[in-house]
Symmetry: C2
Subunit: 191 residues, 2 copies
DNA sequence: GGGTATACGGAGGCGGTCTCCGAGTAGGTG
DNA sequence: CACCTACTCGGAGACCGCCTCCGTATACCC
């Protein structure tokens, strides 16, 4: 099962790195739907090379975002031990928002990967949800959040707000997040 | 200012109607990003004809949705007079959800038209927001909803939930809407 | 029936996705 | 150091969708 794979050839590694850099620039400027041909052009690499390294747009996104999303997981663990569980959860959702809004269109990509194990981003989504789950459970035990909310609900709601934020100014996005998070507090259940 | 325009030629009107029918079918089946060339093919009409009648995808969507969105406005006025303002608002948001989810991708289109007066759908969004404003104000006067929520907030939140619902089963979408609407009740303000 | 304003249709330019395979090269081997 | 081979590169090309433009067709008015 454990296939020993020799290290990448020097040219392959160089092109891989160049593609990551170019992809980040393109996504940052034009959103996750940026032209992959232009990414390849910017990287000074043939389109075939791009597709060999990253068979799908999501594979490329995953590579570009890998560290950033992993950081979110670490942050969740840090926050777990610190102060009020309610505040910790709130703080973490702000981090989540920040990560999800680095590229226009990212919220949509993540959302569609969330329940799709075939997506290259599924693993990343999974890790995010696990981190959120822990913080959420902690906040619920502390009676800060209504207990019928799941980690998936939380992540999806934040994602949805982040998506909405792509079409508003930052203040409005912040307002919407506040409205939603206030609303998840314990004691707000109606039905 | 008031340019008198003679009625459409018979062939033009026929093609217009065919295009509406074909567009509805295509949007229903493949979402708002359905191929316009296929719409034209289905309608038995040249692609040039489609673009003459509907210069943009949004213009076509506006025509297809016109009656439906107008109905939403009427419904808002009906609900204004009926029973509990809180319940009326809740009922209306469910209608809004239903209208926004008729086509996959519609939430995104509406969201991007919401603050863009140049969009062919801006007027429709405007009318929806006005309807929602009235119901919201009524619910706020009755003390059922926190008073720092605006009509735009409400519409955007429902849109965001509808968008999220495109990636979940119906139950989850319903849950998310409940979580958000519960959260908007008066007394839930934190900051 | 004839003339004209109106409408039709699709060819064609553009730009994007993705595949496939001949040419090029890195790096281990003798 | 030179060679060989497995690995990698690059871009042509098939396909698709958007949108424009203009020669052709036709509905309607007189």
């Amino acid at each position: 099962m454990e296939t020993v794979q020799r290290p990448m050839r020097a040219d392959a590694r160089r092109n891989y790195e160049r593609l990551l850099t170019a992809a980040h620039a393109a996504f940052a400027e034009q959103g996750t739907e940026a032209s992959l041909e232009e990414v390849a052009r910017t990287a000074g690499v043939g389109i075939g090379t791009l597709y060999r390294h990253f068979p799908t747009r999501r594979a490329l996104l995953e590579a570009v975002l890998h560290d950033s999303l992993a950081g979110l997981d670490t942050r969740a663990r840090e926050l777990l031990g610190s102060g009020s569980p309610g505040e910790a959860l709130l703080e973490w959702t702000r981090h989540l928002m920040a990560h999800v809004t680095v590229y226009r269109g990212l919220a949509a990509t993540l959302m569609s990967s969330f329940d799709d194990p075939a997506s290259e981003l599924y693993g990343a989504c999974e890790r995010v949800r696990v981190g959120g789950d822990a913080l959420l459970a902690s906040a619920q035990r502390a009676g800060a959040v209504r207990d019928d909310v799941t980690g998936a609900d939380l992540t999806k709601l934040v994602n949805a707000v982040a998506w909405a934020g792509e079409h508003c100014d930052d203040d409005t996005a912040e307002r919407l997040l506040t409205l939603v998070m206030d609303g998840l507090r314990a004691g707000n259940r109606r039905s």
